[in-house]
Homo-oligomer: 156 residues x 2
């Protein structure tokens, strides 16, 4: 698992495969985003969505599922202290049932903390593509990572 020292600007990664399920789209929308175009093809037909489209917040949730699956199976989060937030989230294209999503990431900033020398901020550009290699969503997670402990540095 990753520590702050493991990141450099320009690092790229591709991972994930998430099949967008119709019942899951409806279930998410009923609970959290019950706007007509997220609930039926008929209501979506008269909008720019054209047909049933996933809530944008469902798209972020499905992306997080791919991110966590990519972290590894052992539950060891390494130096990760979680995310402080997200910048520039953009929903570029509708996500429809049957779509297959995947992720591409690129590290864009690696910033040591001035106040806490044991940690730093890593900003990454996340792009989510569908099965046609069309980008459907982009955002920039602002992740906090600890530096690798000294004992761990000498051991490796």
């Amino acid at each position: 698992m990753a520590w702050f020292e493991d990141f450099t600007v320009g690092q790229k990664s591709g991972f994930g495969r998430y099949v967008v399920d119709r019942e899951e789209v409806l279930d998410f929308a009923r609970k959290y985003d019950p706007q007509p175009f997220h609930l039926s093809d008929a209501a979506a037909a008269s909008t720019h969505f054209g047909r049933l489209a996933a809530s944008g917040w469902h798209s972020t949730a499905m992306t997080m599922a791919m991110v966590v699956a990519n972290m590894g199976e052992d539950g060891d989060v390494g130096g990760s202290l979680g995310a402080a937030g997200i910048d520039e989230l953009r929903w570029l294209r509708p996500v429809h049932p049957g779509d297959v999503l995947r992720c591409e990431t690129e590290v864009i900033d690696v910033i040591p903390s001035r106040s806490r020398p044991d940690r730093g901020v890593v900003r990454t550009r996340m792009t989510v593509f569908n099965q046609d290699d069309v980008p459907v969503m982009t955002f920039i997670p602002i992740a906090l990572f600890q530096r690798r402990p000294a004992t761990d540095r000498t051991a490796k």
Copy 2:
């Protein structure tokens, strides 16, 4: 329901009441964000969360549920064309089971489209508070609205 002309910078609104349910926190985390601190009190105890905390993406979803409930019951979205995206999402404090969330919004930008005179962009600062009036999350939705149709203007 609202059209582009209905927004002015500085407009404020408060709405929503969402009781964060423990089983719902676990259900969301299992599906979309199965990191240990979102799955058990024991795993969260050794982190800055202290005890079981909702996924940040669950917090955005719960907030969207409050936003949609506040839109009205008739399914008429007025001039809303949905959101292009979100700026400056920040998770400020953990959200725990038993918390009660509410929303405060303030319009910060009302920008007519240069290319499409029938519409414009409305940027709003959203702040989500818990039952102790502590802000737990902020973000800026970038919403697109059509201008009120001429027929509608003369009719009202």
